[in-house]
């Protein structure tokens, strides 16, 4: 009896542990998306402006 309980305890896996990686889903996070897109588009605009400012004169 005790042995079978001990065995059951050893074999016990909480549900969260038993779930494979990726069984959850990230909710929200749009702020990260907006920052990434803003950084990309703003960065390209600024880099483009820096090229224009450094253009060969004459």
């Amino acid at each position: 009896m005790i042995a079978s309980i001990a065995l059951a305890l050893l074999q016990y896996q909480p549900e969260a542990q038993a779930g494979v990686v990726g069984s959850g889903k990230i909710v929200g996070g749009w702020e990260y998306v907006y920052v990434a897109y803003g950084l990309t588009l703003g960065g390209m605009l600024l880099y483009g402006l820096s090229l224009w400012a450094r253009r060969p004169k004459g």
Binding site: I26, Y32, V33, T40, G43, M44, R55, P56
Partner: protein
């Protein structure tokens, strides 16, 4: 939209880049066409990536960063591979144009690499719980940026144009060693960063938007390199011009 659309546009963009490269008379207008196309594609891209394409099964909407993160790192790798080619070409046959193209591709590569890796860090926070982890992929990416910043620093600190071109060509070849290591790091080591996806592992609409985005970035990469090349080549011409070609003393141009 048919899934083949971005591939067709990509083919057109590559053809235009080839025309610009091999037909000198087209160099005044090809970049303008690609700039216009790139800007228009980014306009459509915002709708496709933020609204049209479905969320990821596990990462939800956060995964939409992929459409900006991955193509920018690809552009960095492309530009730095061009730098490697120019470095070899310069050592085989000295040419100020090759040297200027090497300088241009390194700067644009560092730009796209820095933004691309920064976006990866932004994406890492909601998915991994941290902005940064010293895993093989991230470490080799950081090394890439630091090495090529060193390359650009070397170019600024060496005054003799010939020495600068030769030394930076050697450094460009050595620096390139990091790129294949960066690419294969997710296969060679147990990396927190996922392995490369392929059209077989990604849904069709997601693949299509990624290709669309990569094509838009390719247009911008080309425009940036063309203009950075013109700046570098003009500087080289001023540096190596014979004294009689320089403006007379007191004349400011």
């Amino acid at each position: 939209m048919p899934e083949i659309t971005p591939l067709l546009i990509l083919g057109g963009v590559v053809a235009l880049i080839a025309i610009h490269t091999f037909v000198a008379s087209t160099r005044t207008w090809v970049w303008k066409v690609l700039l216009g196309l790139g800007v228009a594609m980014f306009g459509v891209q915002l709708y496709l990536a933020l609204k049209w394409v479905p969320p990821d099964r596990e990462m939800g909407d956060v995964y939409r960063i992929i459409y900006m993160h991955v193509p920018q790192v690809w552009m960095a790798l492309l530009a730095l591979t061009l730098n490697f080619g120019c470095s070899i070409a310069f050592l085989m046959k000295k040419s100020w144009k090759t040297d200027a193209l090497a300088e241009a591709s390194a700067e644009v590569g560092v730009y796209f690499g820095t933004v691309g890796v920064s976006l990866g860090a932004i994406w890492a926070k909601p998915t991994w719980g941290v902005y940064w982890d010293w895993d093989p992929r991230l470490t080799t990416s950081a090394i890439m940026i630091v090495i090529y910043m060193g390359y650009l620093t070397l170019r600024r600190f060496v005054e003799d144009p010939e020495k600068r071109a030769t030394w930076s060509a050697v450094l460009g070849i050595i620096s390139f060693v990091d790129l294949p290591v960066l690419w294969y790091s997710v296969r060679w080591w147990n990396s927190l960063h996922q392995r490369q996806s392929s059209p077989k592992t990604v849904d069709g609409p997601m693949t299509m938007v990624l290709r669309w985005s990569a094509t838009a970035f390719l247009c911008m990469l080309f425009v940036f390199i063309v203009h950075r090349f013109r700046i570098a080549y003009a500087a080289r011409q001023r540096e190596v011009a014979p004294p009689e070609a320089l403006p007379a003393a007191g004349v400011v141009s």
